[in-house]
């Protein structure tokens, strides 16, 4: 990173637009790694951030998968939390009031077992005061289609997108799974189905075996890999999707430093989400934001969009 500062006349403009949603800066907290916000109270100043994306919410509360749910891998983390969440009713009743007082954009991550469930949750959030956008997690198993994730089937992904679009006027971000052979196929499908933006990547399917107990290390056998280990893959996929669709793309995957975030912004991402890095250091997002600002100042870059590399 360049630390020498050439003072420029104006301080850089960090605000960005995602559809009709204006964020004060491009740094967001990723779903599942920032709880419902309250958990970070006193450790991270949420007011400073562009947005917070809360833990995936389903229609009914869900207990999640049995433990062990976590395994550390080299520069990475495997998790099999499952769908554990408080459910939409309790989210709106118990979590939303606190979140309304935070001066950042609240984005709610949703997940369902059927197209109808996605639409139902979206409808419930549509009128909820304080919710600025919805991020649709399409990487969970579709029970009805026999255990195939919506996100791996471009047609199913488009169906979810259309259903949510119909159910709400809120800006809608579709979050893609990297567990596909061609990420641009799904991306194009959801873009033409009406998504306002795309975020990627969710975790990569992986596993670990405990050679002492001679059992899979996660009770669920498979889990999602996140953290610095997945950054090059996430960056490659963001680069591809940015060049495949016309809607804004949000980069996620292994971002823990300003330099990481800058790589994604240079690849063409409008914004970034910080996930596992918040688990490791709760204050990471603030540090990433400060570093982006410093870099822009030092290099006389006025707008976040100007960070994108020329084609």
């Amino acid at each position: 990173m360049i630390h020498q500062k050439n003072p420029i006349t104006q301080s850089p403009n960090l605000s960005i637009k995602i559809g009709s949603l204006v964020l004060k800066n491009p740094v967001l907290l990723a779903s599942g790694t920032c709880g419902y916000g309250t958990e970070l109270d006193g450790l991270l100043d949420l007011d400073q951030l562009g947005g917070i994306i809360v833990k995936g919410i389903s229609i009914k509360p869900s207990p999640g998968n049995p433990p062990p749910r976590l395994v550390e891998t080299p520069c990475g983390l495997l998790n099999s939390i499952g769908l554990e969440n408080v459910g939409i009713e309790s989210f709106i009743g118990d979590k939303l009031p606190w979140l309304r007082n935070v001066k950042t954009s609240l984005i709610v991550n949703i997940l369902g077992n059927s197209v109808e469930e996605y639409a139902e949750i979206a409808k419930k959030l549509d009128g909820a005061e304080g919710v600025k956008a919805i991020e649709v997690n399409i990487s969970c198993p579709n029970v009805k289609a026999g255990g195939i994730a919506f996100g791996t089937d471009p047609e199913a992904a488009a169906n979810v997108t259309r259903a949510v679009k119909k159910a709400t006027d809120l800006p809608m971000i579709i979050k893609l799974t990297p567990n596909v052979t061609d990420i641009t196929k799904v991306a194009r499908k959801v873009a033409s189905a009406g998504a306002d933006a795309i975020s990627l990547i969710n975790t990569l399917l992986g596993m670990a075996i405990d050679i002492k107990s001679r059992r899979p290390a996660l009770a669920n056998v498979f889990g999602g890999l996140s953290g610095p280990a997945i950054k090059p893959i996430a960056l490659r996929m963001v680069w591809q999707v940015v060049r495949a669709v016309d809607i804004p793309v949000i980069g996620v995957g292994g971002i823990s430093s300003p330099d990481d975030a800058l790589e994604f912004l240079m690849a063409g991402a409008k914004a970034v989400e910080i996930g596992t890095a918040t688990l490791v250091r709760p204050g990471t997002a603030e540090n990433v934001l400060a570093g982006i600002r410093d870099y822009m100042e030092a290099n006389s870059i006025q707008n976040v969009d100007d960070l994108r590399l020329p084609e």
Binding site: G32, T33, C34, G35, E39, L40, G42, L43, K55, P63, G64, P66, P67, P68, R69, L70, V71, E72, P74, C75, G76, L77, N79, I81, E84, G227, P228, A229, S256, S257, T276, T278, L279, V280, R281, P282, G283
Partner: protein, 265 residues
Amino acid sequence: MPRFDIPARIIEQPQLAHGIFLLTVKAPAILDSANPGQFCMLEVKYNNSSDPLLRRPLSIYKTRANGQISFLYKEVGKGTRLLSKRRPGEIVRVLGPLGQGFRLIDDRPQCILVGGGLGIAPLLLLAERINQSGKLIILIGAGNASEIPTIEDFSGLTRYFHIATEDGSLGQRGMVTDLLAQTLREITGMAQIYTCGPWPMMKAVYYMARKKNIPCQVSLEAAMACGIGLCLGCAVPKSDSQGFLHVCREGPVFDADQVNWEYSQ
């Protein structure tokens, strides 16, 4: 409850016995709000390295008025090995104090602390706290004497101090549950049990307590990524099969009857 994520300077870190270390850092902010049974998340990686990625949870063992906090830990893997290599003067990032510690119960004049191996770590602050109010009974067990090198910290706190080792190298030969059985035969009146140690030991302690209708608080362990309720990784099944307890946020100390003891880790 205020929590802090601070760079803490290492004051000292002697190896007390084979693979057992007593790490003392300067962290006045954390110390000021720490309660018995709470823990911290310590960064074990160097600088900007990403390996090992996660912090390691360690119980607050000891606090001193001058802003120093000590952690008593055993080297069991990569993270604790790296931590043990740290020298006085170096900085280690510490996040804490975290979780819900032990709850002191006012109407229980007799408190029985049952520790197994390094499960004694969260019990010292508790023992010091109880000692100011009521009758304190401390029971400690280990495989052998070298597994519990800081035993003197406890033995001076009360006359009712008993120890058992499986090889007989210190105290009575046998298990800490043997000591508990004797104690439960002798005591009369209201009591409260506090325990920390290996899962099978805590399970046995809980079942003995339940038979005598003595309330029991346990300090649990679980794999953790964040230590502050963000990831929901630290789940332990509830006794009523209705979902999970989260060790970092609702624990690490629980009333033992909240826990499903038949679940094996």
